[in-house]
Amino acid sequence: MLLKTSLRSFFAHKGRMALSLVAVVLSVAFVSGTLVFSNTATSTFDTLFASTASDVSVGPAEPELGGKDTRAKTRTVPVDSVRKVAAVPGVKTAIGQVTVENATLADPATLKKVGPTTGAPTLVGNWVDSPRSPVEITSGHVPQGPDQVVLDADTAKKAKLGLGGKLRVIVNDNRDFTIVGIAAFKTTNPGAALAFLDTATAQSVLLGGPAYTSVEVYGDGSRSDEQLKSDALAGLGAGFEAKTAAEQKADGQKSVGSFLDFMKYAMLGFAGISLLVGGFLIINTFSMLVAQRTREIGLLRAVGGSRGQVNRSVLVEALLLGLAGSTIGIAAGLGLAVGLIQLMNAIGMHLDASDLKIGADVFVAGYAVGVVITVLAALVPALRASRIAPIAALRDHGTPVEARSNTVRAIIGLVLTAGGGGLLVLAAGAEKAATGGRLLGLGVLLTLVGFVVLGPLLATTVVRVLGALLPTLFGPSGRLAQRNAMRNPRRTGATAAALMIGLALVIGASVFTSSVIKSTNNQIDSSVGADYIVSAGPNGVSPEIVAAVRQTQGVDHTTEQKYLEAYFTAPDGKTEKNGISAVTARFTEDFRLPVKEGSPDSLKQGALAIGEDYAKDHGLKVGDPIKVDYGNGRVQSLPVGVVMTKGNQLFDGNTFASLDTVSKAVPAADQPVDAILFAKAAAGADVARTLTGLEDALKQYPQASVRDQAGYKDLVQEQVNTLLYMIYGLLGLAIVVAVLGVVNTLALSVVERTREIGLLRAIGLSRRQLRRMIRLESVVIALFGAVLGTALGLAWGITGQQVLRTQGLETLAVPTTTILLTLGASVVIGLLAALVPAFRAGRMNVLAAIATD
């Protein structure tokens, strides 16, 4: 009987339920979509790694020092190690492999770079007949001879290159090859570009002589991989490192993992937002259903229904909603996963959408999220419903009146908000960023909850202010709208909360990102004197490029910067690994070091410029000696010349020494090529024309790119763009859910106010005026949410900037355009949300409305 009542009520309120359903569906879709996507991606890559990894891969041991960055030479193993490994018992085949990451592919005709633009690697190596090759030749043949190359199909397609086409391989110098074969990935293309030469050519072009980068070992099955590994290493002696198939797989997963993780966390962020905001929508829906049914429930209680029964009937409805929402949500999640996979395919990471991995976890998580959230959200209204006095059934019909002042709510809300605000202030003033961060997190949470609790109270005041203009601007519709928005503050508050949360996050994050951009730009302006920055990816800036830049008309001088690694031993005896940037003499002219102590000129006298943090950790001051060990017995002791103030992204975490100083310990032949090159325009030279000149000069070096200061700022902007896009995604989602919430509230209000609407129409309110009234109410609610959200977001964003003021975020930037756009958007949201309810109200039959009871 109970179930029957619930079911009947559930279907009687299809429309209303549908809106809440959308909220549940969205949340569940994001959660289950994320799971399906990451399961599928993981399994695809598992298959890839499992099917391509050799049993044991033997390579040169990781040196203690020297990163792979911009190293001119790739570390190798000698040719005879193949023979040695092959002799190990249990080894069926041992294959010498050449693979380098520091080569650039280009189309010699256009001089355009060929390969991934997303940061995925370009791998060039030798073609081997390995039992587990990731690729197979689909057209043409394997490379034979010094001018043949095989390219992977995806890269070839993107670069519009085919059999017979020319491909340039750039390592230290350029070599042009003819494409004789196209190879396709057997399982999936993780996004990399692959090019293959024959072994001899690969060795000479890529490694500069006979050697391999690794030896791939395939066992005959008689021994375990572990055994093979230790036997191989024992047979080779020192200087080698080996990885079993399992270890290779783990490495591979780590490399794709970080990207997939980003996707996963972004998606879970979306799921969280839709859950949070959806929760409000559900609470609101059920509150309204309960309010609408006050009379019905009162009657049920009057004829003897117990509180528990009333309670349960609401919860059963919620359960139905949760189940339905989760089911649809899981289905939608599959769609979302497929969409994501397509997106990945579009950016070059090939996953197979036809092989979705839908585990039990998808269903468990989907239903748990959907059902639990819905039932929890419905609990509040359910309890409220059960408190409805039986007498309510006998009371005159009309909109239920809310308790006017809710002191308890006010006190709780104020305490939370004040506490949260206090925490934010403390966070902003905190000495340490870590402490500040923790305080910020807690402050964000408290202010958010505080605002949600205070929402209904704020609704009365804020809406009065917001709506004050309505009567003057829009006449009677304006006045009616203003009053309507205020008459049910709890509902207005809860409806606006959905929008508030979304916008607070968006505004907070955009304050943060625009502060990042502005701070970095300021730092560039104040400390970079160089006009141009030349970089060349993993290849490094070769001496030819340096020469080309120097010879360009309008360039006055250049500053080279090399990157090395070394062990630093401070006078306190502590040793740690550090990066060291070796710079040429004009560095101190081209860059203004953020000096805390000392003089930049000391670099020329063989001193070091160290960061404030490092100085503090080791109690260093100007003049103290630091022992710098570059490995291979190359050691020098350098005095501290400059201590750099932290907070400038360009210098933080860096140590500088002059190249002359470093060269005293590390001979030029063993130095890596330049990591980066700076150029300064001559006095009187046209800066823009010189940039064009540089671009022309560097055309034949597709691996190199040049940017002026503006271009460099764009680069910073591009780096935060990923974050920005995510923020816009969140904004979109928040808007969708908020619109649903407002539609929901308005639709219900229209139904509740049927008689009022009838009355208004009878005494002469035109359809147009009526629709305007509803639209304005909607806009007021949306604006109210937007105003609260903006206030919260600003508080969060500004505090965040303050917390990180010593970490390079010293300039606050408030994105006024974004804020204005958001407020403008909230008006649009209001108008959109009112579309259907206003239409329905306008169409309402006057007589039927009057007759409704």
């Binding site: 009053r483 309507n484 008459r487 009355l759 129409r761 009878a762 005494i763 309110l765 007589l847 009057i850």
Partner: protein, 262 residues
């Protein structure tokens, strides 16, 4: 049993207009079709005289409300024609009807007459607000005075008694000086004392302010306040009575019932 009005005035004749505020000719209103067809009004002719208080009586389901709704432009007729003043309203579009109601007609319903979000004064001036007209302050004061609400103007409807609410509704109907006021059982929800108050206000507004009022009622006592009572039965205008008293109306109604049951 023929209606005298039809013979007195044909709105299509020039010169007759001043005496008549609203009239209906051969108005038929049916609901549904086929088997379930209900004829709520059956070829009704009626004239509402200007500056007079007209009551419409009849048994439940006789079509009183339907007639009122049709006359007031709230409902469309199946057949026949209706005029408000000199304007024929049958065939008007919703937009024009709305404007007509706004500018020429006042309403008093049995219940739920007021907007809960507006105070008494705002409710009273609402029709003028909607029309974008400034209320005539002197007139407004007089109306408010007449209905005795001067000290309650800032109260919300929920803070007023049922009788006071109906008086606000009366004031609202009067304030805009409509050509005609329609009331559907305006005292139906009130006790006899509050009902009497409201009715005497209506009476006074006719006598002192020259208002035209049409009131649907079940109550012979209420009908006794009118100048003229029209009797409806099964959608047909069956009789009328001038200068009624509660007793004469009651007497007439009894005959009515007797005839129906016989």
């Amino acid at each position: 049993m023929t209606t005298a009005a039809a013979a007195v005035y044909d709105p299509q004749l020039p010169g007759g207009a001043p005496a008549v505020a609203a009239s209906a000719r051969q108005v038929t209103k049916s609901y549904g079709a086929g088997e379930t067809r209900v004829t709520a009004l059956d070829a009704v002719d009626v004239d509402i005289q200007r500056g007079r208080f007209t009551a419409i009586m009849g048994p439940s389901g006789s079509g009183k409300s339907t007639l009122m709704h049709c006359l007031a432009g709230l409902d469309t007729v199946t057949e026949g024609r209706i005029w408000i003043g000199e304007t024929e309203i049958t065939g008007l579009k919703d937009k024009q009807l709305t404007r007509l109601r706004r500018d020429k007609i006042g309403f008093i319903f049995q219940a739920f007459n007021l907007l809960p979000t507006l105070n008494a004064l705002e409710n009273i001036t609402l029709p003028m607000d909607i029309a974008g007209r400034k209320p005539d302050q002197a007139w407004l004061d007089r109306v408010v005075e007449t209905v005795g609400l001067s000290d309650r103007l800032r109260h919300r409807p929920t803070q007023l008694s049922g009788g006071q609410q109906q008086r606000v509704a009366v004031a609202r109907a009067l304030a805009a000086r409509p050509e005609i006021i329609f009331g559907d059982e305006p005292t139906g929800n009130l006790d006899s004392r509050s009902g009497a108050e409201v009715l005497s206000f209506l009476r006074r507004s006719v006598d002192e302010l020259g208002q035209t009022i049409v009131m649907v009622t079940h109550d012979p006592v209420a009908a006794g306040y009118a100048d003229r009572v029209l009797f409806l039965a099964d959608g047909v205008m069956v009789d009328e009575m001038h200068a009624p008293t509660a007793d004469s109306v009651l007497e007439r109604m009894r005959r009515f019932d007797g005839k129906r049951t016989s």
